[in-house]
Symmetry: C2
Subunit: 355 residues, 2 copies
């Protein structure tokens, strides 16, 4: 398989615009994300539908995408048509969910080329809409998402109850059907050992935290995903506002931690930073986890080395994930081949980062 | 303290000629060493002597060194006149023993500028003579040492018994008074997990093994010191011959292990080698143990990188030990300052090693 032939229409050499690092506070907040769970009115929830009914949902969504002027000619991709590698590639890009890939339902998927908007059909609900943006931008994101939601609702009305709000397959999503989250990089808070205290504060506010690219709550590369837990009894604006306030708080903690580090632990961090550059530039084999951790440390060098930008590091973090790497090089690779190719890619990308 | 002012007469920027790496099998055998324990005839063993008697021994040895044309004008240095830093420096260079430094006796010390021959007065015995050579060269070493031994014996007769041989303070040295050893680098045998089996074979031959720069039997940097245990009932030639045969065997094992590695584990070793270069070139702080281990791994690159020679690595291993490092830079340093200066020194030394 070569790049360009991807069913999803994505370019395996590029990453989503939400990884540009150029959004507000992009040095600390990688991205913002809003996801909406929606179901088509007059139809059963997915768990009670037959194959023909699932096909019907796919068809209906496909038509609505065109009618709402979203798909611009390229409609849904059927998930069964994706190669296992491309499916994994989309999972690594956070465009598909693990549950979606495991399911036996007739599933469809759509993404804009810049990956800012995507949707899954017949995941847990008939529709899961998703928007990504760079940095801390939940308010703008909800603005855009709200408009898309309305456009779609006008061509395919969503299941809605005056009292409960949007109806969803699982009660935990009823109400707004919204999950808003930010992906935030907190190496300073971790290194100053303040992370447990900080995360307790996040949980007390009724938010939830998990690592990214990690199983369960394990965090890798000092990356944390913070999201709302409640969907009922709060408006979308309230959810966005609570999360934005918490994010601003976390940014402040992280800035303070980095300031502390730069006075008290500077030689330790400097050493860690330079070693990471040394290993990334010289290693002949790099696993994806080690790469993630080393690139995470390199974020300390943003602003210090002219060619080291948040966007460049974000891009490398995604392109070095296993499936992304294989599609970047346009071939299936064994784990050992991947580790070698990954080090090639990293070396090339960091060539003009001089220490 | 600045280099050049060292009491021992050594240059803190140079290391002993026995570290040149140019001796036979110098890529695997760092060095050979022969040590003789001798006592002056007609005098009590050290443990039974008074301070004036110890002074007398020092004086007598000093005169004999000139008479035997060994000291060339520069006589014994009194150990109490050495700064703690220079004493540590000489310990790191294997010219003084730990026990010698701890002792309360009146002690004297002499070394040639190239460190090939040195002696301690009033260590456990009145005299401990020591010769170092590059690579596997025990036979040549014994040849030279035998001559020095005879020259000294002719001007200050040594305690000798027709039946037992040379008499020593501790019975474990009676007979030849000789301890012969080689310092050998066995990363291949360690990496292929054959080291335990190999060392058992060494012990079965009545030889003893220990690590270098390590406490007790701990080995660091894959460096092992193999020496004879028996001094009685074997001639010097037999000791030298047994040890030389064992060394040749170990060299063969190591070569086989490296060959195996280069076919089966080549990418693993290659990666380890390049990472070591990356860390040594980029780290801002290096402890002496980490440096030893990284430099040990770099020995795999001898012959692969034009500017990487065994002699250069041997030299760096010694110059980066704590006291050597401080005397190299001509100042006392805190542990953190040492780690920074060590990385400076290493970076400078490896500047023209390009990967």
């Amino acid at each position: 398989m070569i790049s360009g032939s991807l069913k999803s229409g994505l370019d395996s050499h590029e990453v989503g615009s939400w990884l540009s690092g150029e959004g507000p506070d992009g040095e600390i907040v990688i991205s913002s994300r809003i996801r909406l769970a929606r179901n088509l009115t007059g139809l059963k929830f997915l768990g009670y539908t037959s194959d023909p009914e699932q096909e019907e949902i796919l068809k209906s969504v496909n038509q609505s995408l065109s009618a709402a002027l979203i798909s611009h000619g390229r409609g849904l991709v059927e998930v069964d048509d994706l190669s296992p590698l491309e499916a994994q590639f989309l999972l690594e890009r956070h465009l598909l969910s693990p549950d979606f890939l495991k399911s036996n339902a007739k599933r469809g998927f759509f993404t804009t080329v810049d990956e800012s908007f995507s949707l899954m059909v017949n995941e847990e609900d008939h529709l899961r809409l998703q928007m990504f943006g760079s940095g801390l931008c939940l308010e703008n994101l909800w603005d855009s998402m709200g408009k898309i939601d309305e456009r779609l609702n006008s061509v395919m009305p969503f299941s809605f109850d005056e009292r409960y709000g949007f109806l969803t397959a699982c009660p935990t999503n009823v109400g707004t059907g919204m999950r808003a989250s930010i992906l935030i990089h907190l190496p300073g808070v971790v290194l100053t050992k303040e992370i447990d205290r900080v995360l307790r504060g996040v949980l007390q506010l009724g938010l939830s935290v998990r690592g990214t690219y990690g199983e369960g709550t394990e965090t890798k590369g000092h990356l944390f995903q913070v999201s709302n837990q409640r969907t009922l009894g709060q408006s979308e604006e309230e959810i966005v506002s609570t999360l934005t306030k918490m994010a601003s708080q976390l940014i402040k903690y992280e800035q303070e931690a980095r300031e502390y580090i730069s006075t008290k632990m500077s030689s330790y961090i400097e050493d860690k930073l330079y070693r990471s550059i040394g290993i990334l530039k010289y290693a002949r084999m790099l696993t994806s986890d080690e790469t993630l951790n080393l690139l995470s440390t390199l974020r300390f060098g943003i602003g210090r080395f002219p060619n080291l930008t948040a966007g460049r590091l974000n891009k490398l973090i995604v392109l070095t994930r296993p499936a992304n790497l294989q599609l970047f090089f346009g071939e299936e690779l064994t784990p050992e081949q991947r580790d070698r190719k990954r080090s090639d890619l990293v070396k090339r990308a960091l060539k003009n980062v001089e220490a």
